[in-house]
């Protein structure tokens, strides 16, 4: 074993003795780089957890002793291995995995495609118009816009619940990979799960409902048990299985609706305002679950959702469709939003009046400063970065409560 490694190990030993928490973290990194067996890497990982969980000094001392013993064992193994020819472990690459799955899955990744899609309501005169939309497996597309701008109409059309009267639509990945002129609804609808904003109640326990839903989609016997248990564990619903609909909170009603939709592995999930009426923790859990499940390699899902919680959906969306007066005002990848902007926009909140804040910004180059009813909005030239504005505000000792760069945010589309 090289001297450098010995010196590194000696330093690590001292760190473990002085600060076991830091030592555990460094030992984990050290084992990742140098451990000969997986077993030692696993032990280092669990010791790091034990350090976090140690309730008192005695427990911490025990963990510290184990960390030192592990380090000694590690060095011994490395010395021993240096005298032998070790077989190299086989690494699996992303390219190999892609090739493996490409053999098993249809090439078409586009689940839904619409060109100039439209629908007019004769009674009210409202029209949804000129919607171009493409939903791909593994991507989340969020539809935003003020109320009454056609979001639910669009969702009903995509779900096959409402006929369009303009443009064309197709479901390539649901129809054997071909963009057919005529949609075979009986085939397409088998792959679409639609969760409306108003969740319909059900009878019986939640467990029975999930088993029934899976059976309706042809999942029976041991497969039914496995798929239902999988989705229960995946969405963390195990404590509520015997409850009836009326006993659940709004958050769990939505999570069960999600479980009901996902238990049969649809290819397209349409979900209208999933975050409405949820507390912030539940919102994050739902978004996290949606993102992780849509990203599945074996069963990827195209997700179409709507929400008024702009910052939250930005954290998981790939694409944004912004509807204004029934027409798309923006459609494209989230990362491209605002790339063609002519100025930067920042939101901030503090305990100053507008006049006081203007005085603080007197020698700072900005374009506009106004209060939108919730917080202050500052616009600047493109050359001014969010760091520069923040630094100026801090230098001026502005007591900031909130600060956000919304130059490339969906929120900017609303022109508040």
């Amino acid at each position: 074993m090289g001297n450098t490694l010995h010196q590194e190990a000696a330093a690590l030993q001292q760190i473990i003795q002085a600060d076991p928490q830091r030592g555990a973290k460094l030992l984990l990194a050290f084992t990742k780089d140098h451990a000969v067996t997986k077993r030692l890497r696993h032990e280092a990982l669990l010791l790091k957890l034990s350090v976090i969980k140690a309730p008192d000094a005695d427990a911490m001392a025990r963990v510290q002793a184990k960390l030192l013993a592990l380090l000694a064992q590690l060095l011994e193994d490395i010395d021993e291995a240096a005298n032998k020819d070790q077989p190299q472990p086989t690494a699996v690459t992303a390219e190999q995995i892609d090739a493996y799955f490409a053999r098993r899955q249809p090439a078409a990744q586009v689940v839904f495609e619409a060109k100039n899609l439209g629908r007019t309501y004769q009674k009210t005169g409202f029209s949804l118009e000129k919607v171009n939309l493409q939903l791909r497996l593994g991507e989340i597309t969020s539809v935003v816009g003020e109320n009454g701008n056609g979001k639910t109409t669009l969702f009903n059309i995509v779900a096959g619940e409402l006929r369009h009267d303009e443009g064309t639509l197709a479901y390539p990945a649901l129809q054997g990979g071909e963009a057919m002129a005529k949609v075979r609804w009986h085939r397409v609808k088998r792959e679409i799960a639609y969760i409306p904003q108003e969740l319909p109640p059900w009878d019986g326990s939640l467990l029975e409902m999930l088993q029934f839903e899976a059976a309706l989609h042809g999942i029976k016997g041991a497969d039914n048990t496995r798929e239902v248990n999988f989705i229960i564990q995946r969405l963390g619903l195990q404590d509520h299985l015997v409850k009836a609909w009326q006993e659940l909170s709004g958050g769990f009603k939505l999570r069960f609706a999600l479980a009901k939709a996902l238990v049969w592995k649809p290819k397209l999930l349409i979900i209208d305002e999933p975050l409405a009426n949820l507390d912030i923790k539940t919102q994050l859990i739902v978004l996290k679950d949606l993102r992780n499940m849509s990203n599945s390699l074996r069963y990827p899902i195209a997700v179409l959702l709507s929400s008024q919680h702009l910052h939250e959906i930005e954290s998981v969306s790939d694409n944004i469709l912004y509807l204004r007066n029934g027409e798309p005002a923006y459609y494209g990848p989230l990362r491209e939003l605002g790339t063609d902007r002519h100025y930067n926009t920042f939101e901030l909140d503090c305990d100053l009046t507008l006049a006081e804040l203007k005085a603080k910004l007197a020698d700072f180059s900005y374009q506009k400063l106004y209060h939108n009813g919730v917080c202050y909005v500052v616009t600047t030239d493109l050359a001014i970065t969010h760091v520069e504005l923040l630094q100026h505000l801090l230098r001026q000792q502005v007591n900031l409560i909130y600060y956000r760069n919304i130059s490339q945010s969906v929120k900017k589309l609303f022109e508040l």
Binding site: H42, V92, Q233, N292
Partner: protein
């Protein structure tokens, strides 16, 4: 769940779905930082993606159920710290070995 908002801020897996090594690392990091429930959720997706064996899915479901039971016992104070640590470590070793076996099986299959 800890009840603090920052426990929820690791929003989702940042690894590409086909990056098996990064996905293993993410699950390991969640375990090392005491986010076992999140780790198991990702493990469920990991097994579904990389194993063709239905039994593997059943095994990860059982792991998840065991972890929930242990969490409940701990919450109720119905298990001592030492016993909980022993049980949790058994479970976590099982998870780590299980992930390794899935990676090894896939490597074997891809090499064939």
């Amino acid at each position: 769940m800890k009840g603090y908002i920052w426990d929820y801020l690791v929003l989702y897996s940042l690894a590409a779905p086909n990056d098996i090594n990064k996905r293993v690392e993410e699950i390991q990091d969640l375990i090392a930082t005491d986010k076992v429930r999140d780790a198991i959720k990702l493990l469920l997706g990991f097994v579904r993606d990389f194993s063709d064996e239905k039994e593997d899915v059943n095994e990860v479901i059982v792991i998840s159920q065991k972890s929930n039971r242990l969490e409940k016992l701990e919450r109720r104070g119905a298990i001592s710290f030492d016993d909980a640590t022993t049980e949790r470590n058994k479970l976590l070793y099982q998870i780590l070995d299980f992930m390794d076996s899935i990676v090894d099986n896939l490597a074997f299959k891809l090499a064939a």
